[in-house]
Symmetry: D2
Subunit: 164 residues, 4 copies
DNA sequence: TTTT
DNA sequence: TTTT
């Protein structure tokens, strides 16, 4: 089979500084949110602004770029795909779902990124460049990967969920 | 403001015959699922097929076309946007989320649509054509809209959620 | 039939201030160019930058927004479709082709647009809003529409080419 | 730099059997046309069908798949980018332009492909897989690559135009 | 002809 | 939680 298309294009602003993690296998993972502003008519026919929030996740080289250049407020263009993970919530016993956009391509736009100057990066196909070995960035960056195997424990993510 | 983009492009096959409903206001609503097949490498480097399921929702004129032409197995091209609704689950008291693709454009492809011949339709921008008045299709179609106001009660949808 | 898709997504910078014209029927028309930067490998395996130039054309309400907010240097996100027009070149007698992107949606990004402050606009579906009657903007804007019927004479465009 | 996006999505039918060629360097090249059907309003407000023809070009592994599975009538989903080449026409001395869609991704749909059964293929990112060495397909396929270096001579294409 |  |  394999004749599907699952493509997402987003342009919006980052809600918070990305959260950096790593898998057991050492793959860098970045989680962040993106707000896309929409304008639509309400029942009375008035135009109202509506913000949709998206959960984004990046892996490997793309995640490293997110770590280095993306921050709260950054304006981003994103290409990715939709993925819904599910797991059994330990507390309630209920099945839980979380829909995320896996980032494949990215362009940092000229938005007022939080701080000091803002990097400029446009991701390519990240062709073959995923650094899966994990690196020595542990103590030079802001995230703690001492126990990466537990990072997603509460929502059941494992290395099996890494899409490559 | 309002410089966001929230766009989804899907190409896949419909999982079940669409479920038809209507809002209190009489807007026709179609819910269905779409499977997009993907091929990705697993940890051992082998190519494995993976199917992603998407929840789709169409309104008004688009929903009527879904009702008339889309069935289990239909191969569809879809353009839409991502929307995540949330509500408080009455049983568990937990906050629940459901991410859906709101269908804006649609093309029926030549896939093996369930049955007798298959309609052919390519949705345009549905330009101004949403029939919000509800119609007299109640007893000529397969869905029961006697109590449309209750259709989404279990997941908290109201006319406020209709995006136009 | 009608099951086609013809969609273009561009993100880049405007090359020159837009040229404004009008058709005989009074529809405002904006022509401008957009540069999209690409990075690709050359034969020796080095990454080289390459700029692709696109001819964009907007009509009606969208053209008015281009006129009012877009200038040389503006960073734009564009959605549109590809259209190739052909005509017989009067001088050489040869068939000539010109491929253009018809702009359907547009978002002005935070790029350093030429001048004084820069407007912010994100085009919607231009839903039903094309002002086809022509207006009294003749002497309040920078373009001269006294003889609109001649504007495209050299490349054979007529009102028939306006896609709506 | 390098924050551009140049993306094309097409869904339509192939106009003729693809023409296969090869560059001096041995890269397989496929040229074909794709028709996308559109429905738009004419001046009198009637809906008229309009077909837009696109020139497509595929390289390497993607071209081989085109050669093996695509034929006149095939229904295709395409992702690619726009590229305009220019050269000086030797006869008239005029500058000539040709806009093409470079195919990056492709899905064969269930349309009535010319003949005997139709292959099924969905191109991935063709990640790193372009076979640039040329192969021994010379006498097993329908195209003659004895003098590949001359194939594009009349429109000035060289290996420099191959985008990788 | 743009942009970084 | 972003942005204008």
């Amino acid at each position: 089979m394999a004749k599907g298309v699952n493509k997402v294009i987003l342009l919006g602003n980052v809600g918070k500084d990305p959260e950096m993690r790593a898998t057991q296998g050492g793959t860098v993972v970045a989680n962040f949110t993106l707000a896309t502003a929409d304008r639509q008519k309400d029942q009375t026919g008035n135009w109202v602004d509506k913000t949709e929030w998206h959960n984004l996740i990046a892996f490997g080289r793309t995640a490293e770029i997110v770590r280095d250049y993306v921050k709260k407020g950054s304006q981003l263009y994103i290409e990715g795909k939709i993925q819904t993970r599910s797991w059994d919530d330990k507390e309630s016993g209920q099945k839980k779902y979380r829909t995320e956009i896996i980032v494949n391509d990215m362009s940092l736009l000229g938005g007022r990124a939080g701080g000091e100057g803002g990097g400029q990066y446009s991701g390519g196909r990240s062709s073959g460049g995923y650094s899966q070995g994990g690196g020595n960035y542990g103590n030079t960056t802001s995230f703690d990967q001492r126990t990466p195997q537990n990072d997603f424990a509460n929502e059941g993510i494992t290395d099996d969920d890494i899409p490559f």
